[in-house]
Subunit: 216 residues, 4 copies
């Protein structure tokens, strides 16, 4: 029934916004390490250097906490990509820059990627959220392809475009996953490889074609 607060002088009473970020950092880390279910609120709180009730006070129960992680990481990623792939570039350049930003993000936020991608997919309560996010990505890419087609005066059934975009997203995710597991790998190079597959296709690659970044 007693509650004795630490008298450690190094202890700081931080404003809410700061503590929330600390908590999210810890949560992303722990969720990524253990998976959603195996992650315990105890470990997250401890890792954040704060007591459990504060986590609940600020970010709510476990599910909400996970969703908050998702949102933060997702926003960061989308911003990184959207900031790089300006809409007025030619399609291949746009795709290239987007991919570079994407792999750059994954390389720099491996934990975030794990939470976003691996954990979310397997947990029924959140799978829907992920599907929605991915659908947005797919739409953007499909739109990109569509623009390119129209510029050539051609057209393709929307479903086809969507499925193609799905495949591209999937391939990128897979490489990102590989990147997250290989800390020594170079994001830039991974992006280049992805661009080759995506743009040229296995057929042309076999024929010896190569795509190279204009600036590298």
């Amino acid at each position: 029934m007693l509650a004795r607060v630490s008298t450690n002088p190094a202890f700081k009473r931080l404003p809410r916004a700061v503590r929330e970020q600390q908590m999210l950092d810890a949560a992303v880390k722990v969720f990524s390490r253990r998976g959603y279910h195996a992650a315990s609120m105890d470990e997250i709180a401890e890792d954040a250097g704060i007591s459990k009730p504060m986590v609940y006070a600020y970010l709510g129960p476990k599910e909400d906490l996970f969703v908050a992680c998702l949102h933060r990481e997702c926003t960061r990623m989308i911003e990184a990509i959207a900031g790089a792939a300006a809409p007025d570039l030619p399609p291949d350049e746009r795709l290239w820059r987007g991919l570079r930003a994407f792999f750059g993000f994954v390389g720099a936020h491996r934990d975030g990627w794990s939470v976003l991608y691996r954990q979310t997919r397997g947990e029924p309560p959140f799978a829907g959220q992920l599907a929605t996010m991915r659908a947005r990505m797919v739409e953007v890419i499909a739109g990109m392809l569509d623009d390119a087609l129209r510029a050539q005066g051609r057209e393709v059934r929307e479903t086809d475009l969507e499925v193609i975009a799905y495949a591209l997203v999937g391939a990128s995710e897979s490489l990102a996953d590989w990147l997250a597991d290989n800390p020594t790998a170079d994001p830039e190079k991974t992006a280049t490889r992805m661009m080759n597959v995506a743009w040229l296709g296995a057929g042309q690659l076999i024929e010896g074609a190569v795509w190279r970044p204009a600036d590298g």
Copy 2:
């Protein structure tokens, strides 16, 4: 006089192998629905129509049970693909048959696919297993590409091939995932689309190129 264990005609003392398959069926179903952690041994036992101690007696603790599921589904899938993509076919035909078999399998075993792909990826204790399996797939595909290259008297660094193969596998997984979530979708058509992206690449698709199965 004979000793009768039970006179209830509904009661069946099934041979071990059959019982094990029933349990695995139930386990795959429940794991797929709930995810590894959220799945309870109680539900699995009940779904298998058997008591919990029997599950333990036959397949061991939860982890072992999950691994057993993984193995069974994985074996089935690899057999399906390997049986279709005969090594003496030309590379595009081989790829095409492999993809067709793959999507056919996913369409027919959605639960198995979910366990294999979604659940396993998010659960740290098993992620390694999945990585190993996928590495085998990647190796096969990379080998396929390598064969094609050598046939043309050309060569590519192994790492590059591997990454390309990774991308192809990832794209397939992504479409498979989409297929698993869209019960009305046609596996055959999905395979065709995948083949187009994989073989021709986005660049050529934009130019209007199309790949079509020889037999359809």
Copy 3:
């Protein structure tokens, strides 16, 4: 993760029905002592000489457990009263026997009475249940009074009867409460007193009237 079952040879694996009664006994005792909220499932389990999961397995969560207690005690009480107050007796005799059975029950099951009456009334989730039970009692008593009236060729508005019955029930509850708190008090005597107030009223009592049981 280990679960080692006691090897104490005095330990007995009891059939479900027995264990359930033990649990209910313990629960009634603890609820009565502590009140619904302050009672912990731990204490109940320990008092029942069994582990918590068994309580949950057999009787469900705390709320259900409490309701089960209510039901058992209520049934016992109603049976005791109904068995005593045969409908073919004259009204005063019937009332008298009912009261005697009631106070007898309370004297013999003080814990049960506390759960039934004190705890239930204060806890919003269960107050409704108690109200329903009491309404049944009231109805019975009102019916008894009504019979007596009709036998005299007279009639009273139903609401009035109901309120009178309410008052009688309340007075009995209050005395029961007093009885439960005074372990040395005699249930029989308490019943007699209650009968005096109920039947004669304060006015006549002041005038010196006395009601006495025919058989005592």
Copy 4:
């Protein structure tokens, strides 16, 4: 220059006594709605429009707060009744006025009644307090009866009187309870009914006797 604590006109630095009443109001409301244990200090503070530490500063920990509620409501009720039932009236008139005041109070302070009666009874830590208060009421009523007896030159054992008084109090509580649950019911009428049962008893009521207030 004057030091201004706040320029916000909505902000009011209220005198301590007022603040305390606000808090008690909130506490009574919340305790009545939720019950002692289920009521949270958070909700009480919020309902009082003040921060939690203030509640502690003014009224101490939860137990003290509840006791304060009890005291206030109890005092109010006793004052209402004592003010109405002047000791120089004839016994029936005195009883009648007391009952009228009592039911009037309950009708006007349903929350207070609930705290006083329902919550307190179920919570072991406070049950004693309630018993004491009720004992005072009982004593008063018993005294009233005793006066009436002596006026007739008669006498009854004290215990008997006490038990009778207990029954009357209990009956009143029960009707009060009913009244608190039926917001449309008329306190005056309820008092009349109670008076009938109390004064005449079931026996006479069956015979057709009726008691009516002199002034109504």
